[in-house]
Symmetry: C2
Subunit: 462 residues, 2 copies
């Protein structure tokens, strides 16, 4: 046994240091499946003090640490594939405090996102950040990646709800950042530097989350859109009168795959090239009339040609399924996935540019588009042609990635909208962050983690 | 003439370099009046390229630069009192772009805040950050101090509305941060590091501001509150049913001063020790009934004992005047002012602790409290007793400051809620940021401004 494993057993109790091969694989990877997990050990921490000790150990022995939450990431940010010690926050999952007046909930980083949503509901409030993996992801990981999801258009990203953070830096300092305050004009807000830093500056050991008001029951519209270029007009039309809590999008190809995969029928008679799913969660008593009027305006302006409005919570669930089942429905096709963004206004041109490149260069590739289009966030998915080997497909997809990123750069977009950089997008970071800016990122890293022990090889090109 | 002035005239046109004593005084200070302005020269820049040139000049000649916007700051952040070159953004005030779909307005930093509000209205949108100095302050300064104001409880601070920034760092690099994107998970968000950095890392040369939806017509309640400890219950009661766009507070002493200063009568029959001003800006058709019901609930629970609801825009303006005239009404009393915050729930205990200290130690001092209590932000004002010399009063107020800051620390609050640190609060920073954290602040400064030429002597204790 590595001498360091014995040291780890001194820092946390022996039963919290795991070295079984199955454990190393389980905790050594996230939802990306491109890397072979190979950590030295898994350590299940139970306190901030233990994390401080682990950082001291890491500096002394030059052993890299990888933070591990729900491991639902899609960029390899929580992958340990070169002898790292994985710092698992699974056991650090206590709820520490709730203040009713402030609406602030203080928790350890290992609390599951869905539990936070549940705790909020019990207080007649809401934690409005929501996404597919919220049943497994942990709040610490959500903050480290500034998670987004389906209701960003109204509620913003995870960043908006973090009122305070405690972090342990790569120097082993425990910092208490912002203390849950609303107003605090005392200089650089390091809290915001840590949000989205993917564990490369330090690890989150406590978070104070501000909870939102409880929304009303949601109403959903699913609209059939004949032309991509109609999407911004549709968005502007509805936003002029109501506050949208979601504005999602998918292509007819995506709908087909969902219908093949489930027993769902078409949502309405017409088939259209694109669909927009709109949600409103605070309709007043006259709200339904307003929505119907907007729907009719959209029909008569031909920005949509058909559609349906939910009449019940069961309708709401059923309409959301068309969008939510897409990922699952395409999984059997070994999809190449990419998560990018531009500003909402530029979505049609951007999407068309990528579409044209892919279909001219690879006419046999089927493209499935969906995403949080109200935020300019598109998920590009390309299905492997049945006849093509996985290896050949992957090689072609590298070319698609490079060109997609170049198009992102041309439209001043982001090479990673919400999945982070991790390991997966390191090679493309230069399309969003130029060499000068990367110099500043490296300098930040140097300040907080001078020995390069905090999640090295992620986020910042080496 | 200093040789450097000639150099400046090479960088910008000669008529944009001011050295008249009156100009040096005018542009060498903000609304604080504790410092003697003594800049070398004022330079009115017209482009980002000129700012880059000025940074090169500053590094080569070791001449500090001080950014200058509307100079409405209250902490001396824009004071130039030791031979600095003041970089005035007054002439860099063009509106560069507006995108209707994205709701993003791109401007130069010298645009006056009120003009942004006006431009937003013309687009049927709103720039919801508002405060007393918005008619003079500039957006660049607002961002550099992360300005707050009266509608933070609903709309958040300036930070929430900054979708993109261009900055020139103290190394002379022009960085383009976030490009107006909603979602951008490509690592450390340097945009947020610059927001609230008071020009100490670099200067803002362009900003993309996201505009909010246009709110509905406001309704205002002014309520008479018998006990300070009722304030959190009042806040919680109203927030359970409506979204407050303001929750302000002032004491009866403040009301008296406003009534002396203006020809306004009491807002309603009763006088109470405290008053709360509540605003709602998105009442639905049944909203007024909801507000009345809440008001009645508050009366029967005796959290307030009297009050009035606006019936017209003229009522709204009139009720706001009780709050807005306080500063002006107390100016003749040479007030000592402090701007601090705690979390909203802790306001009553905190305020009581400060009150008790001041009134036991200095029984002759009159305290005027007001502030954005929904954000936990209190403005403490102490009036000089007529018989006391200004010098003696100031000396006593230093003692009050020290003790207030110690109380702030005890309640985990902030020594500067929204006015920044500047020069004025440097000596108290340790009450909000411990030595370890200050080390990181200094390290950030070192990264972006290694020569210490960007607004030195501000924000970070030397």
């Amino acid at each position: 046994v590595d001498e360091r494993v014995a040291q780890l057993r001194q820092i946390v109790s022996a039963d919290r240091v795991l070295t079984d091969p199955a454990d190393l694989i389980h905790w050594g990877q996230d939802w990306t499946r491109f890397y072979q997990p190979a950590p030295l050990a898994i350590v299940q921490v139970s306190s901030a003090a233990e994390v401080v000790e682990l950082v001291r150990f890491a500096r002394a022995t030059n052993t890299p640490l990888v933070p591990s939450g729900g491991r639902t990431g899609l960029s390899g940010g929580a992958v340990a594939d070169r002898g790292e010690v994985v710092v698992s926050f699974d056991k650090m999952n206590r709820v520490l405090d709730y203040d009713e007046v402030d609406g602030n909930l203080t928790v350890e980083p290992g609390v599951i996102t869905a539990r936070i949503q549940q705790l909020a509901e019990e207080q007649s409030r809401a934690y409005p950040v929501d996404f597919a993996s919220s049943g497994s992801s942990q709040i610490g990981g959500n903050i480290a990646t500034n998670a987004g999801g389906i209701r960003v258009i109204k509620y913003g990203l995870t960043r908006n709800w973090v009122a305070g953070l405690k972090v342990v830096t790569g120097r082993g300092d425990l910092l208490s950042l912002n203390n849950g305050l609303v107003k605090n004009a005392t200089g650089y807000d390091l809290r915001h530097l840590f949000i989205g830093s993917e564990g490369t500056l330090g690890f989150i050991v406590e978070a104070t989350i501000h909870l939102a008001r409880m929304p009303g029951p949601p109403t959903v519209l699913l609209l059939g859109v004949p032309e991509l270029s109609n999407i911004p007009a549709l968005l502007a039309l509805f936003q002029s009168k109501v506050v949208l809590s979601a504005f999602e999008f998918f292509s007819d190809a995506a709908l087909s795959k969902v219908m093949d995969h489930t027993d769902k029928a078409t949502p309405f008679r017409s088939r259209t090239p694109y669909y927009a799913l709109l949600e409103v969660d605070d309709l007043g008593p006259d709200g339904e009339a307003v929505l119907l009027e907007l729907f009719e305006q959209a029909l008569s302006a031909e920005v949509c040609i058909d559609g349906v409005i939910s009449q019940s919570q069961s309708d709401v669930n059923s309409l959301w399924e068309y969008r939510e089942f897409i990922s699952e429905a395409i999984t059997p096709y070994t999809p190449y996935k990419n998560d990018v963004s531009v500003t909402p206004a530029r979505v049609p041109e951007f999407l068309t540019a990528v579409d044209e490149f892919v279909s001219s260069r690879y006419p046999s590739f089927e493209i499935i588009w969906f995403g949080h289009i109200g935020d300019g966030n598109l998920h590009l998915n390309i299905l492997k042609p049945e006849a093509m080997s996985t290896e050949e497909f992957k090689a072609h997809c590298e070319v698609v990635s490079d060109e997609t990123m170049a198009i992102v750069q041309r439209y001043n977009g982001s090479i990673s909208a919400e999945h982070g950089v991790g390991k997966l997008k390191l090679g493309h970071l230069q399309y969003s962050r130029d060499e000068t800016e990367q110099g500043y990122l490296r300098a930040m890293k140097q300040v907080f983690d001078p020995d390069g022990i905090m999640n090295p090889g992620k986020l910042i090109p080496g």
